[in-house]
């Protein structure tokens, strides 16, 4: 599976081609058996999924083991959601993303494509002020 970070109307977004996508900042990875999904995605037992919030299954991680899950989590700052434990706050989830390599890549993209990035600055329903934060990070690095 190939995962890409893009900027969509949802803001910074994790896209996995035809397998789906999810807004970054409110997403996570969870091992469970979702119920409210298209029948073609039904699984006979719990699987790893990228989810939005807690229950919105978005990307089925076919064949993923713990190591692959950890790598995806690290790369895009996706918090691991463990059943039975309290749900991390939105701020915690955002902090995961803001400390990830995907965030560093987004900051570099903002510097490399300033007009395009500025035009997409308002696309921030799930990660408020990502653009301003990226600019600040870029300035700090160049100072």
């Amino acid at each position: 599976m190939v995962f890409e970070g893009v900027v969509s109307a949802d803001g910074p977004y994790l896209s996995c081609s035809l397998d789906g996508g999810v807004a970054l900042g409110v997403s996570g990875i969870r091992h469970f058996q979702p119920t409210d999904i298209p029948s073609r995605l039904n699984q006979p037992e719990p699987r790893w999924w990228v989810v939005k919030y807690r229950d919105e299954a978005r990307i089925l991680l076919r064949g993923f083991n713990q190591r692959a899950v950890d790598r995806l989590s690290d790369e895009f700052g996706l918090v691991l959601l463990i059943d039975g434990e309290s749900l991390p706050s939105d701020h915690v989830r955002q902090d995961y993303f803001f400390t990830s390599p995907a965030w560093d890549a987004l900051c570099r993209w903002v510097v490399k494509h300033p007009r395009l990035a500025k035009a997409r600055a308002g696309d921030d329903p799930y990660l408020p002020s990502w653009y301003g934060r990226a600019l600040a990070a870029a300035r700090a690095l160049s100072a």
Binding site: A9, D10, G11, A23, V26, L87, D123, P125, Y126
Partner: protein, 85 residues
Amino acid sequence: MTGKQARIAARIDAAMQPFLRQGEDDITILTGMSDHMTDFEHLIDTAKPGVMDELCRRYPGFYRYAKVLEGIAGAIQSGAIKVPQ
């Protein structure tokens, strides 16, 4: 679906999350989400056939908000909720 329509629906979806987590009732949601009513009306006015359904599928929080408004509108229409003349 335009980018603006998706952006509005996503904002409503995000704003609905605290209410959904707390299991708030329809009246609390209606009151707490009043800032988003104008945006929702804009969607109703501009969305082509099928777009609202697509937005509801993509943004469950937005769908919940639409159902709240639908329920309130139905209650007003039936007279279950009295509106001052």
